[in-house]
Symmetry: C2
Subunit: 479 residues, 2 copies
């Protein structure tokens, strides 16, 4: 299968897209939710889009439940009418996850925004799925604990579980997967299931928590999440260091990790991204591959880590090693990294980004980035590169005019070559963004037909009428 034989990036299609919402269902949802059910054009448009470069594909209506029980009632009604349901969190996904390619009802969980419990003694919190990561961390303020997963966007916790999100401090604290203890999920027939207890570990049957994590709303709708918390470290230090080339920067991170140094963050920006930041922020950073690092622990340990890494960086030609411990200085030092996405988009005002997301074993990372940067240069695309190099994960932001079909096709061809390269390195087509519509054609390439067949069997077993976010992750035929 090939991405290019799929519906084009701009035109998701639902072959079984029905004409409209059944009138009876509309009446039932109105009766159930009153003004929290809408079929207004503007709400539908918002809920049929995400942060990808896909054109919108609106649902037939939008429901705003306030409880797990209401979600279950909505799903039961939709299930009876065989109408698709698409869970919607913060709208920040980027692979077409939210597009209503088969019509149906968008279930917007943003009003399920209560932090249900914070348990410092257990290092856990339980939240409704619509709570955003920033809201959770605000609720934790002053407790001495924080929620670690930071994918950049202020995503909803439910959405972060659903896509198995991660982000900058995964190298230290793990992905959303490792930070999720238990879920409450509404099944395809509207039953409410809790996937696990709050025990830190369990061997009690199949791990439903990790099956729903990363299933992108196609196996069930996540309504509550119990997450792990971490103690706020005593000390944090930030460092920035410039390298002559990508290989040197990546080798510096690899050696640091091999020595067991507990890096909290290890981000690399390529020269083009630095150029974008200089233009965007009026800075004069050296236009070269640059590492943004963070250390945490006790004050003594942070100082020792920083000294160690400065030494390793120097061995790899690193220069201009700058570091800071006070909050405002750390902020200033890391500001270019935080602005990278917006700065990159400003390299070409009006463009949208087709954002790649491969992840490879660390030993293959340097070469993979190198080949990719050469590919970008030879193909004439404009694509800043940056990523979570401690995890082997990096992104290319291919800046495209969303109305130029030729350009879009070139960007897709580049993405396909990049994914081929990642899979040859024994890596994955998506480290943290998920499959959605966009990565579906690559699942067989990555996992093989037999593994994808198992995924389809699971989908059919848990959603026999294919009403849960149909057309995403895997395609199945309804009998």
């Amino acid at each position: 299968m090939n991405a290019l034989t799929e519906p084009s990036l701009m035109e998701p299609r639902g072959s079984h897209l029905a004409a409209s919402l059944p009138a009876a269902l509309d009446r039932l949802l109105s009766a159930l939710l009153e003004r929290r059910w809408t079929t207004s054009a503007s709400d539908r448009l918002t809920h049929g889009s995400d942060e990808s470069s896909y054109l919108p594909c609106p649902p037939w209506g939008v429901a705003y439940p306030q409880s797990t029980d209401e979600v279950a009632q909505i799903v039961r009604l939709c299930s009876e009418h065989r109408v698709p349901v698409i869970p919607y969190g913060a709208g920040s996904s980027i692979e077409g996850h939210l597009l209503a390619v088969a019509g149906g009802v968008s279930i917007d969980l943003s009003r399920m925004s209560h932090v249900l419990a914070v348990r410092p003694e257990d290092l856990t919190a339980t939240v409704q799925a619509g709570v955003t990561r920033e809201a959770l961390n605000a609720a934790l303020s002053g407790t001495g604990f924080f929620f670690s997963v930071d994918p950049g966007a202020n995503a909803s916790i439910g959405g972060m579980v659903a896509t198995s999100a991660s982000g900058t401090n995964t190298v230290r604290y793990g992905t959303m997967r490792e930070n999720t203890l238990s879920l409450t999920v509404v099944t395809a027939d509207g039953r409410v299931v809790r996937t696990a207890s709050r025990a830190r570990k369990s061997s009690a049957g199949y791990c439903l928590t990790q099956l729903f994590a990363g299933s992108e709303g196609t196996l069930g709708i996540i309504t509550e999440v119990t997450v792990r918390l971490h103690p706020v470290p005593e000390a944090i230090a930030a460092a920035v260091v410039t390298f002559p080339d990508t290989v040197s920067a990546v080798r510096c991170v690899m050696e640091t990790i091999q020595l067991g140094t507990p890096l909290a963050r290890a981000e690399m920006l390529d020269a083009l991204t630095i150029r974008a930041i200089n233009a965007y922020s009026g800075m004069t950073l050296q236009q070269a591959p640059t590492l943004f690092l963070e250390f945490c622990g006790s004050e003594a340990s942070v100082a020792a880590q920083s000294e160690l890494v400065a030494g390793i960086a120097a061995e790899h030609g690193g220069s201009d090693f700058a570091w800071a411990t006070r909050p405002e200085e750390r902020s200033r030092l890391w500001k270019p990294r935080h602005n990278a996405l917006f700065a990159a988009l400003q390299l070409r005002p009006g463009s949208k980004s087709l954002t790649t997301d491969i992840c490879v074993p660390l030993s293959n990372l340097a070469q993979c980035i190198d080949e990719t940067v050469q590919d970008i240069e030879s193909s004439g695309l404009l694509a800043p590169v940056f990523g979570h190099v401690g995890d082997g994960n990096f992104h290319c932001l291919v800046l495209v005019d969303p109305n130029d079909a030729t350009e879009l096709q070139q960007a897709e061809q580049f993405s396909a070559r990049l994914i081929d390269r990642a899979i040859r390195c024994d890596g994955t087509c998506t480290g943290e963004h998920g499959v959605g519509l966009h990565k579906k054609p690559y699942l067989v390439l990555e996992h093989g037909e037999d593994a994808v067949d198992l995924m389809r069997r699971i989908k059919r077993a848990l959603d026999p009428h294919n009403i849960l976010n149909p057309g995403k992750v895997v395609d199945v035929q309804v009998p």
Copy 2:
């Protein structure tokens, strides 16, 4: 459902236990494996037992494959004849996982004992499923890296994934689940599937790795495993400290964890276990709840951790804080913990242990242990208690005469009360041992009927003829 309405502990039954191996299958397996296929009584007996107090339930024959391809061929032959297959690793499971309750073929993976790759740059290794954890660590000797999961027994890596095992240093390094990157699995119809790439993280479709982990051979047979490695720490320190009561010992560990101190191990032994050790090893340890701790990191960090914990312990009435950093001293200090299992069994020579395995949120642990020790005292059972208190997981070794039905029933009743108590605390019936035969009745109590229904659907989807270790984890009807 109630454990006591299930087949008794000593008499696993297979209602659909066929009389014998189909002669045609016997001929085919002989032709395929020659002398690596046997129906000898002694081999069958060994492979129908585990470390539980169940009486043996032998398979019809034992196959010793040497490769994934051979496992696939065996499964295809068995699948055609609808004959059960039961994967066998090191035989160290303790919930009846290996008993051939429906007859069938035991697939002994011990000859698949090759370490296929060690990749220090990626912090991973790939092994055949029959490699034991000690063999893997021997192969890693001198590399500067180690494999962290230590369930006590010298289990096979495949078996450890299949039961989602963990052990003493989970509090620092995570369970087998978090240390498994990718699996090669033979499916019910004999296809070979690789569940994931070697990327450190991925969002590429449903997480098959975590679905097969903990599935106890009921969804597929794990033949190869890619695990994470960790750098050998620069310094390790061991400490032992005695407490006036269980609550104080547990509170000491909780506070240490809340401060973000990276404990490598945190084990508690109750007074009875200490009495057993004194008798077994001729020692004179104080008969009181005792913590065995381990710290690791840089030398400075280890010293700082140890000082911090000594202070916390003192606040909770801890006394006789002893610590050591040199390997031989650390060994000496921890020797009682390593001998705990054997010492405990010697409290009653000739007995077997019905070993419980609950795990609860940390905030409920002290009370749960306290109530359990009172229950033991009032029920007149002999049951040392010890566990991985940093994870909220502890074991009672209920010492029973395996030929005394009344005593076995009392032990089962105690176990049922303990599990009830754990589930009331929002914990699990099994933290690391798995379900096997023994915990099946408790899955509905823990997860609810709807969650177990999802597990059954997954089982039927992946093993429609119920040939993969039938009768374990969940019961399903074959159409």
